[in-house]
């Protein structure tokens, strides 16, 4: 599998009243063609901002200040806004956490599907009627693909006329309209109830296999990652702290933070077993010293840890940002 997306030393900062917030600090990552990368971390760990940076959608006062983002051989940071716009929605697509707020309430579902094709698809026929028919046919096909019943009659409807699960499917259908090479899906199931969650994730996995696209699954749910992702990347306070094949990372976490995350998941199989929360809080990202960021919450912390820690090899295809990898928990 060749590399589709390669991010190196990415840094994204937000100028706030309190000071400069380094929301993404030196993040490097790779997504190979057709693979599914899970990105895990708490709120504020920088996982969403990292991929907003990849898409060029960081809002002011945020700014990507350093690093390279190579996608399909091109550095996205060097592209003009117009070139970047052409890639968004066509080669890299994105879905958002809550489809209710991500779909425009004032526009019909059909229009919101059609506009992506109008913006990107040069293969549409030239004639007005033929064009409209082609768009319609494709929209019906896409809604059918994500399992919306009787799609042809529902194109005229507005988002509020659909259930939460259906809206999520519509958003996915819109994202997939141009058959992107990479789908970034941010918390695709958080706004849904449990039974629908599973269906939506199955849908994404299924389509990934059929279209051969790569998927970045941003979530805070390690269970979802275990089931759907080839590789996983754990983020903490703007940095990647551990990265590797899913089964290895979850089966044998090396970074104390990953271990903490796994220990804080409720497991029905271990009834009576206490959930162990990670003590303390995520550090304030304003003016952080260049030392291990998990130090203040880490059960293994030692004075030697108060230095800048690089990603260190932690097994086959694995890396972790910890000086005490050798020691058992």
């Amino acid at each position: 599998m060749t590399v589709l997306l390669e991010v190196t030393s990415l840094r994204t900062e937000f100028a706030t009243r309190a000071g400069l917030v380094r929301a993404v600090d030196g993040v490097s990552l790779q997504v190979r063609r057709g693979e599914c990368l899970g990105v895990v971390g708490e709120s504020g760990s920088g996982k969403s901002v990292t991929f907003a940076s990849v898409m060029g959608l960081v809002r002011s006062p945020g700014k990507v200040v350093a690093g390279t983002i190579f996608f399909d051989g091109r550095d996205l940071r060097q592209l003009s806004p117009e070139e970047m716009r052409a890639i968004r929605g066509r080669d890299i697509a994105m879905t958002m956490q809550d489809a209710l707020t991500a779909l425009n309430p004032a526009l019909s579902v059909g229009e919101q599907m059609a506009e992506v094709m109008v913006a990107h698809d040069e293969t549409l026929p030239a004639g007005r009627a033929a064009r409209r028919a082609a768009i319609r046919e494709r929209s019906v096909e896409m809604l059918g693909l994500v399992g919306i019943p009787s799609p042809d009659t529902r194109l005229r409807q507005y988002p509020h006329e659909f259930s939460g699960g259906m809206r999520q499917r519509i958003m996915i259908a819109i994202a997939l309209t141009c058959r992107p090479k990479l789908l970034i899906t941010d918390e695709p199931t958080t706004a849904l109830d449990v039974t629908i969650q599973a269906q939506v994730l199955e849908l994404i996995s299924d389509i990934r296999a059929r279209l051969g696209m790569a998927v970045v699954l941003i979530t805070h749910d390690l269970g979802v990652v275990a089931e759907h992702c080839d590789r996983v990347m754990v983020m903490y306070a703007g940095q990647v702290v551990e990265e590797g094949p899913t089964s290895a990372v979850i089966g044998q976490p090396r970074h104390p933070y990953t271990r903490g995350l796994l220990a804080s998941i409720p497991r029905p199989a271990l009834r009576g077993h206490r959930i162990e929360p990670i003590m303390g809080q995520v550090p304030d990202l304003v003016g952080l010293p260049p030392q291990c960021r998990f130090h203040s919450r880490c059960p293994l912390a030692r004075p030697e840890c108060l230095v800048e820690v690089p990603m260190l090899p932690a097994g086959p295809g694995r890396q972790a940002r910890c000086l005490r990898l050798e020691e058992p928990a």
Binding site: L57, R85, G89, R90, A102, N104, A106, L107, V116, M171
Partner: protein
């Protein structure tokens, strides 16, 4: 939009009109000045003649009785004769109404055409020089009294630069046959482009003066709702779809941002009615507003009553229109 809802609105109108009638009636009774004295003026008449006049106008009866007589006639859409004109009030008002409607509509168009683009640009370039200028300008627009601003405009454009007329609806040499009463339409029907331009030039200053406070309010509403809308997820998602910036701004953001603007515009159009009295007086505009002001000076009771009722009905209907527009623009809401 159901028939029941419409009926409900019409029923709501009844107490409003009753209350308005009563208030106007009481206020006129409390205002010093006697219509008969004003009509007679310096002429000398005998007490008998005066009593006769008073009886003809119905002013010899007690207050309460006069009020009920008025109500009894009003429900049959009979508002009596204008003291001053000696003709039915309804006819006098109908003659003056087109001038006022024409002025108000042009003022509304001027207000919408400046407020929406300014509000959008101010929101897109938040904190830019243009945004700050628009914000200061809108503050001035709300605070400047209409009569003062109107006089300033007259001094600058009519007196000093002499590019626009001082007052009236059209020049004497450009008068055309009245068909609709709207000069912009009548001049075109007469095929007289010169007269059309003249009517338009007469409209410009009063329309700007009348529309200024509304422009200011609508600009601020548009700016703040545009800013609000641009923070929404659906705008980010539209950008993530790789849509052209124009489409993101105008189709996705503006369509939603205009919902409050249109509602406020419909309600604010009611406030143009009050502004009309001042602006028509300043610009010598022969419309309903000036007629009402003149009638107040003449204590022309029947005309004041009828005009105020008309204002009240218009105001309620505009509010109703605001509700309808809100549901049309917003597919989530069903009236």
């Amino acid at each position: 939009m159901s028939l029941g809802k419409l009926l409900e609105r019409i029923i709501q109108l009844i107490p409003v009109l009753l209350g308005v009638s009563l208030i106007v009636f009481v206020m006129m009774a409390l205002t010093p000045g006697d219509p008969v004295q004003i009509m007679v003026g310096e002429q000398s008449i005998t007490p008998e003649q005066e009593a006769e006049l008073r009886r003809n106008l119905g002013l010899d009866r007690p207050m309460v009785e006069r009020f009920f007589i008025f109500l009894a006639h009003a429900v049959q859409f009979d508002f009596g004769n204008s003291f001053y004109h000696g003709r039915p009030v309804a006819d006098v008002i109908a003659e003056r109404l087109p001038a006022t409607i024409e002025l108000s509509l042009v003022a509304l168009i001027v207000a919408l055409a400046t407020a929406i683009p300014l509000g959008v640009v101010a929101a897109i370039r938040k904190n830019s020089v243009l945004d700050r200028m628009a914000t200061v300008g809108s503050l001035l627009g709300v605070s400047l009294p209409g009569f003062w601003f109107g006089i300033l405009l007259i001094m600058l454009f009519a007196v000093h630069m002499q590019v626009l007329p001082v007052s009236g609806r059209i020049g004497y040499d450009n008068e055309v046959a009245a068909v609709t009463g709207f000069l912009l339409i009548d001049t075109l029907l007469a095929g007289d482009i010169g007269a059309f331009g003249d009517a338009l030039r007469h409209l410009l200053l009063p329309a700007i003066t009348l529309g200024l406070p509304m422009t200011a309010i609508l600009m601020r509403v548009t700016r703040s709702s545009m800013l609000e809308v641009m923070r929404q997820d659906y705008v980010t998602f539209a950008e993530a779809k790789g849509l052209p910036r124009r489409r993101v701004l105008y189709r996705h953001a503006l369509k939603n941002a205009l919902i409050p603007t249109v509602s406020v515009a419909a309600i604010e159009t009611g406030s143009l009615l009050g502004g009309n009295m001042i602006v028509e007086t300043v610009f010598g505009w022969p419309g309903l507003g000036r007629l009402v002001v003149e009638s107040i000076f003449l204590r022309n009771y029947p005309l004041i009553q009828a005009a105020v009722l008309l204002y009240a009905v218009t105001y309620v209907l505009l509010n109703f229109l605001a509700d309808i527009l809100y549901t049309v623009l917003n597919p989530r809401v069903k009236l």
